[in-house]
Symmetry: C2
Subunit: 526 residues, 2 copies
Amino acid sequence: MRMDKASESPLPKSKESRRSGGRAARRAKRQAGPIERPVRAGMAGGQYKPLSDADLQQIHRAAVEILATIGIGDVTPQAEEIALMHGCSMSAHGRLLIPASVIEDVIAGACREYVIHSRSAEHADLQVGGNRVHYATSGEAVSIYEVASKSYRPSTLKDLYDLARMVEVLPNIHQFGQMVVPTELEIAFEHDLNVAYAISAGTQKPAEMTFTDVKNIAPAISLFDRVLGGDGRFKEKPYLSFGGCPIVSPLRFGADNLDVLIETSRLGLINDIAIAPQAGATAPAHLAGALAQVTAEGLACLAMVNFVRPGCPMSFAIWPFVSDLRTGSFSGGSGEEALLMAAAAQIGRFYDLPTTVAASMTDSKLPDAQAGYEKGISSVMAGLAGANRVLESAGMLGSLMGCSFEALVIDNDMLGMAQRALRGIEVSDETLNLEAIKDVVLGPGHFLGHPSTLDVMESEYLYPDIADRTATGTWEKFGALDMLERASYRVNEILSEQPPIHIDKHADAMIRDQFPIKLKVGEFAS
Amino acid sequence: MRMDKASESPLPKSKESRRSGGRAARRAKRQAGPIERPVRAGMAGGQYKPLSDADLQQIHRAAVEILATIGIGDVTPQAEEIALMHGCSMSAHGRLLIPASVIEDVIAGACREYVIHSRSAEHADLQVGGNRVHYATSGEAVSIYEVASKSYRPSTLKDLYDLARMVEVLPNIHQFGQMVVPTELEIAFEHDLNVAYAISAGTQKPAEMTFTDVKNIAPAISLFDRVLGGDGRFKEKPYLSFGGCPIVSPLRFGADNLDVLIETSRLGLINDIAIAPQAGATAPAHLAGALAQVTAEGLACLAMVNFVRPGCPMSFAIWPFVSDLRTGSFSGGSGEEALLMAAAAQIGRFYDLPTTVAASMTDSKLPDAQAGYEKGISSVMAGLAGANRVLESAGMLGSLMGCSFEALVIDNDMLGMAQRALRGIEVSDETLNLEAIKDVVLGPGHFLGHPSTLDVMESEYLYPDIADRTATGTWEKFGALDMLERASYRVNEILSEQPPIHIDKHADAMIRDQFPIKLKVGEFAS
């Protein structure tokens, strides 16, 4: 595979391309606000219901029974103290029991919606809740797939920044969550603050990151305040949510992440956790049993958050993962997985809680046909089931072990297709337009060129960026490229642009004075 | 890419592999009946409803109005005579008008279910109707994609036979519809009879073919009777349905295919038509308008069939295709297309008619990531929407222009994933199994190896054939193959087996006496 310069790209010019002529053009575009597109952030899901109402009630009752009778193990002293003050008790096995009445009160009083803000008028804020669907990256992979060598290498801070830059210009990805870990940064403080910086520098889209140490939250908020131009600004308009896995399945807390959860709740930040037991390993192999357990684990976290700060924003993020039972390994790309995540989204809708699920995972090690269908099937099901934020939705490979720049570009087109399906069909006298049918049938016999066609060409139809729709002859003439080859060209085009820093120059200087920022690239974009 | 001999294949041995030791083993397997698998033909769809009830009513009213006021053009004298006898009239423009009351009677009296029989206990009959979902091939492409040269060549009779052999052993494809045209056979009689023979020789699964000339129907039935061992047998247990496109959109009949439709209806055969107007070209660009027109076209065919023979089996096969409006070309792989086909399935369920839709189409010219996600998204949506038979669902490329052996094998795994998602989650006290959760949580802390896990390992989980789930190191050790490379090995393995003829030796001799059969390969399987 060649990795030519952008000028030699055989790709057709994209109308939505970011190659629109430098900083001034970008600024003009930003000021014009979000572009009207056939698909957008926050379209309505829920047309697909994998579970019946009776199924939902039965899973709910099972989860409540689990919490009241089996409970959660490994409770930290701090968490125990908080929970006992709110009507919970400890079992003979030393596990935290949460009565049904407490769970019902927690659900009734929980946050129904939260907002993760964009830092640019060009991008939408995420209004997370209801039946509104958004697609986001996430994953914290530790490696990057290299197309040329067909192998993986450790991910770096520069990769995190470059991935953020990519997402900034890929229109079907609505949020940049931390896709990779900067593996070269071993000191927790340097690690967390550089992640905070690299994301803020690379994109103005709503974002997400995960703290490795609770002590780094306050300094990071200070960094975000600088980015926004003043103390207290981040609290007013948070542009990141905060990840973490406070549960060690089956049904135990994880101390470090529970500390972070309690602290972010105290501060009223957006708790963007993930609870990922693995069916057949750390959850029952029966899909129904896995759902009951993960629902119990999710409700336990919801209870802790609401004990600390009633109504504090939290994603009801139940992510039932799947084992390949022949090996015990996690399989992210299976039909069972796609189904479980869709059901998880529906359970969140049942409780009317803001949800995240994981979809677009694949077991494939590279962006091939397997990656394509595993990602496509799970992504569209998650959206149609009404997940508020579909995470892991772009760029991930190898069951979340690795990440790929090329996959990110391919998945942007894949998510466009899924989102066009999600949008659905508007049926009205205007869209049925029987007059137009009569005109055409009794007249020219063809709709191409008819005013009713030209009217909806840009509003009803989404055109992909790099997916091939050419005639066979044209395809052969341009080198008979496959999707991965086309993606390589697009990645090169995007990354060969002058790297932007989406932080004010003055703020950047202050941040670099205050924190050990390692990222050296970039030009100031604002 | 290498195309080694089967013995050198780097693929793991498949449990469901057809390499189970020759004819005796195959016969034993056949006699054991269909294998119990986690997915099967005829699972229930309808969990996904792209249209609201009000949308459905509005589309229905629009379709009825189109038939009553705009009507259908290019009516043949034979069709006109039949229709006028059943309450229709001709408009001032010479178009056939069908009143609402006639349409309502036709829908009320139409066939609700038909059966396409398998010729082996190893395969399921297709019970087409209700909310039961099956996946099938079809397409009548004119070319085959060659991996080695990255190019297309004309398809042949041998290809048709080989494709049938492949489908015979691919468990997630429930019917073999005529995937390619034998382009070397130019005489209609030779063409149609050899298609009938090649399909019958290659597979015992339920099948489908299309006649190019109405005169060839009777001889072909004679051939099928021979295959089944006696006159009149095919009528009792039809193992093929019959394709054709009796509509030339917008809203005209096509004379040749209409003749076939009337004749197959007279004979009480299964009318397996496809009505495929192209939104933005031969149908409105508004998706709702395209649905209204294609529904009218489908109801017009339903009326003709039921005028000729009330209750005659017919697929309500409304296939709204999509144009890329930048070029006017058909785009099979778009989100709009996946959505329209799901809506078409729902419209058929609204009428309670047996349906087919087209899904798993792609605009890609080869089995890459684009083909993967375009196929995956549309296939799962069609199934979840409750299409009775999802056609074009395996092996097709380039917007149905071509066909690929490798894509067929890949799509078998893709359809397995879609079908596992379609099956859904069974929720009951048994599958929730709170006792097992308690056992594990208070005991070993792990479900792997627990009896409840071992119990469901083969019933709850589907394991793919060639999709990769290995660890990265293993994947690299086995050559870092992508899905297309693995598929090439599998194709080679299957086709390097002794080619079977699934026709009794004596019957075969009689058929070859009677008809100009061109196929020379094969051993007799029965």
